[in-house]
Chain length 350, copies 2
DNA sequence: TGTTAGCACTCTATCTTTATGAGTGCTAAA
DNA sequence: TTTAGCACTCATAAAGATAGAGTGCTAACA
């Protein structure tokens, strides 16, 4: 109840629901006549007008100008998503497409991520992003120092989530391939199966002692291992289907497209958009200003995390106009989140 | 000389040059008055009009409509690029920016590629693409089979250009980590330093004989090695700075933007755009229809290949409107091509 | 007290009309 | 060969006219 004494009731909820549904479908402000005609409330347009005035009072809808219909406000969408929207099962076609994608054997994590993103954007008609498995949660599996030329080598680090990192290092003149082999095997023996914290706190000294004389590039290797855990300077997220949202009338303004594109080209920004705070399995919906980013005030994001076993390792999400089909998108994200988790599970526990 | 007996002469060349320069700068059709005023030809507008009519006859310029100035045709740009344009040295600022980028030590090939692309798009104000070092030209360096769980492992292949490929494979129940070690070292010993052709033709049988009993996953490993050479299913090209070209008035039409974006999101398409036919070091300019792709009739591409030693391993390029600043862009591409080649050289020969 | 018909009013979007002016091609004179 | 002069074209912008969707308010009604 607000200061005018207006409170939400069932009919207002029906009207709000009608407004949101119709606006999502048509992208046009919704008038009282339309609501009565299409949604059969059994009352007159005048009554609906009164309700709409109340809904505006409550902050759920707004008028672009005096003689236009109403469009939902961010708050209206929020109410809709939380209370009004009815869940929508995937169509057989959608489900089939997803299942088919994940039934084939996983050859390469990167490829699974990419295909997931493509499918997601195709099904939701939004821009899709997929955060690759993050090493923060995974454990060290294997390290290998591969000599390339006299003076440099590649350090390869494999995590137990199947991700592989590599980087180039310089070698002191004196180092032989055999030395590299030694270092590789000591590191492997000592670090196997550990997470970053343990590596950091417990074992560094021990390794140092064992590898006296190779400290220089043990340092470099450790630096890489550390980077691997924090995923520095890597391709962390898949982004695709951006052109989909250009179909939406709200993006017929090139300035907006430009702002959006330059945002999406910055990987750190994508990461922060995808970073899921709560690790519950649930699907998260952020609407307009809730995203808390000035360049995408008129967009919503639907995100969810995926797991390997019981570890949350990454997340998937879509970005679309606030006027997106929430019911459909939420259903798809949830389904894909589960499918992706299962597929990865099968790889690692299978 | 064409069927009307009109031939190119110096004054026509000056007029054409003025039209192209002015149109590049303003994006507006260029009229006879403007040319006389800005480019001081020392003749009257009427004279210039006659010349322009001739240039139209020759197919170098065209009129958007009867009472507008002229704009260059693809053929006009071509003539400009081939004969009229004067080379433009990089500004100190540009050169400094590029040099600074490449003076720091290379840690990771992927990162160099990415920074190269970012710099390229920033300097040219076009969309930039960089084809990563292709393995077709490189030689096998190292393979490593890393067990992840009981039933699967990661095959890692390192090429002598410093690129690393990996993929997951299933293992038969019976295989032990020690077996993997054996296979790794046999493959390493046999394949070291060879290019694909040699591996294919000469050695497969030999390896089979040596690894009787492990044929199944030797097959898988060989498949990956093969894929590594052809770079299948991998992130082959960096793309960035697409938002830059939205500043150009020719892209104020959202339909065009959409067409372009959906093209650029397809990696195979990017590859075919970047694939350089002639491996000469020269910078290649393709204008409008010369690109031979219906979705980018109104764009030009400037590309060049880069090398490691004397092997061409990849290429860089930009995509912009046909109305791009060719002189500047060509200068930048050429400079960056050399800088990138040198930087990679330093890594591999240093 | 809640609902509805009626009506005047507002505002946008669209269409038409009307300048305006940049730029041309042609002709005839220099 | 060059140029001044002039009639002509066409896109763009501004101004006005019209239509229509939708509103809020008032008064009557159940």
């Amino acid at each position: 109840m607000n200061r005018f004494g207006v409170i939400m009731d069932d009919r207002k909820r029906m009207v709000l629901s009608a407004i949101v549904n119709d606006y999502i479908a048509t992208a046009e402000p919704v008038g009282s006549r339309t609501i009565v005609r299409k949604y059969k409330l059994g009352v007159s347009p005048a009554t609906v007008r009164n309700e709409m005035a109340d809904l505006e009072e409550l902050g759920y809808v707004q008028q672009p100008h005096t003689s236009a219909g109403r469009i939902p406000s961010d708050r209206g969408y929020r109410y809709y998503v939380d209370y009004l929207m009815q869940q929508r099962e995937l169509t057989g076609e959608e489900a089939a497409l997803i299942c088919k994608e994940y039934e084939s054997k996983v050859k390469d994590i990167g490829q699974v991520i990419q295909r997931t993103g493509q499918l997601l954007s195709q099904l939701t008609q939004c821009a899709a992003m997929v955060l690759k498995p993050q090493s923060g949660m995974s454990a060290f599996k294997h390290i290998q120092l591969v000599p390339i030329f006299q003076s440099n080598a590649i350090v390869i680090v494999v995590m137990d989530t199947g991700t592989v990192h590599n980087r180039m290092i310089d070698l002191p003149e004196s180092v032989t391939p055999a030395d590299l082999e030694t270092v590789s095997s000591v590191l492997n023996a000592k670090l196997q199966g550990l997470t970053m914290e343990k590596i950091k706190l417990v074992l560094i000294k021990e390794i140092y002692n064992e590898l006296v004389g190779h400290r220089h590039f043990v340092d470099l290797a450790m630096e890489l291992i550390q980077d691997s855990f924090s995923l520095k300077s890597e391709d962390k997220v898949y982004l695709g289907g951006v052109f989909n949202i250009l179909n939406q009338p709200e993006f017929h303004n090139v300035e907006k497209v430009k702002t959006l594109l330059s945002l999406l080209e910055q990987e750190e920004q994508l990461c922060s958009l995808l970073a899921v705070k709560e690790n519950t399995g649930a699907v998260t919906v952020r609407i307009g200003g809730e995203i808390n980013h000035k360049d995408i005030q008129e967009c919503s994001m639907v995100t969810a995390s995926y797991q390997v076993g019981d570890r949350v390792v990454g997340s998937i999400g879509v970005l679309g106009p606030t006027r997106m089909e929430y019911a459909k998108v939420i259903g798809i994200i949830d389904f894909m989140r589960k499918s992706l988790s299962q597929a990865l599970e099968r790889v690692f526990q299978g």
